[in-house]
Assembly symmetry: C2
Homo-oligomer: 242 residues x 2
């Protein structure tokens, strides 16, 4: 029994996107560049502007492109010929429970990224991480508290060095999605204070090529964040905000 393809009769949208992807690659367009106007695309591809717009709407929904009225359509992410799309949509992210759920996902990914990092980091990569760590520690002592930006830089360095781009993509996407919460989640301003020492222990385990040790330290770090959040949530509830 051969698995015959669905054979969609009309698939102009996809055709348009394929041609457009080829164009972007051929022209070596990078994020931020402007791509041809809808009217030009319509004329060149011999399809109606409606069809072009439907196709661009798809790309816009995937975050590949940004449309600015009166200005043009701009590339927002790198485009390649073999792109896989994984649209995730989940319900109600405005409550404490959802925040915990995303944190659990992050814990799994963070631990794995740290472990892989310990296996794959070369001297140069290790140096980058160490630098980010020191910048973060300096900021911590200067302000007597965790700094989100420097903290985030440190973690991103780990994702990058892990050798698997998916970690950075997924966690960054989640981070942006919950930006409002991660800023001052639940009103806890010294948020992440308890997590401070584990940044250095993670680095040390990575430097020692100890994958399981790095994984364990990463788990401890997220555990402290989780504890902080639970404390903040409890405070809110006690204050009668819920």
């Amino acid at each position: 029994m051969l698995d015959l393809p669905p054979l969609q009769a009309t698939a102009r949208d996809d055709a348009v996107l394929n041609v457009l992807a080829d164009f972007v690659i051929h022209e070596e367009l990078k994020p931020g560049d402007r791509l041809p106007t809808e009217r030009v695309l319509s004329e060149r591809l011999k399809v109606s502007r409606t069809t072009v717009r439907e196709a661009l709407t798809r790309w816009e929904g995937l975050g590949l492109v940004e449309r600015r009225q009166g200005s043009g359509t701009y590339l927002k992410a790198a485009v390649s010929r073999d792109m896989l799309h994984l649209p995730l949509t989940f319900a109600s992210g405005n409550d404490f429970e959802s925040l915990m759920h995303t944190l659990e996902i992050r814990r799994g990914l963070e631990a794995e990224a740290a472990a892989l990092c310990a296996l794959r980091a070369g001297p140069a990569e290790l140096e980058i991480i160490r630098q980010k760590l020191e910048v973060m520690e300096e900021a911590f002592h200067a302000r007597a508290g965790m700094s989100s930006d420097e903290d985030w830089d440190f973690h991103q360095a780990i994702y990058r060095v892990s050798g698997n781009p998916l970690f950075e993509q997924i966690i960054t996407a989640m981070h942006e999605l919950f930006h409002r919460f991660w800023e001052h989640p639940l009103g806890v301003h010294d948020f992440g204070h308890a997590s401070f020492p584990y940044h250095r222990t993670i680095y040390e385990r990575i430097a020692a090529r100890d994958a399981e040790g790095a994984r364990a330290e990463a788990l401890k770090l997220i555990a402290t964040v989780e504890a902080d959040l639970r404390r903040g949530d409890a405070n809110l509830k006690r204050a009668g905000y819920k």
Copy 2:
């Protein structure tokens, strides 16, 4: 400094989707149900059919809806008022390296899900997992090899019992995306044979409420899968297919 919303002057698309979401919720439409035709929506909402179509194209891109020409538009997933969209798109998933990358993501998530499962599984949930395990083991002995379906059922049960719906959503989405590979990846037909015993050990750790033990066993399981894949890839390369 208040973070004022972008406030796009023209955002009829979103407005349409909000109203449509309310409609779906109010009418209690479930996946598989058919929703009003584009022409009806256009008339009821007092917007052009073009706008309705752009809105539905967005939902289609998110996998919330499926459009069948000549038939209608059908709901494909649950819709709620507070939906968060996390569209991920990554390049080139047709090679061995990408398969490894997704497997690393899965390892992190699988381990975390198993650990949470050990903490949260009640007697009823534990019984469900045990049942899936036995079905899988039976299928294994009957066919003298791993069965993808029963194996998948077992893992899905763990995701569900973890109490965090994100695990099932993310891993299922990845599973569907890489369907062709997970079936007979790289032509290895006794794929996953080595992973068999770890299913039971994972269950035992969960039953014993041993979160870290469950995490460790899950890591071992994925490690065997990874080893199998590496072996298959090496075979392919030796055979000159690459």
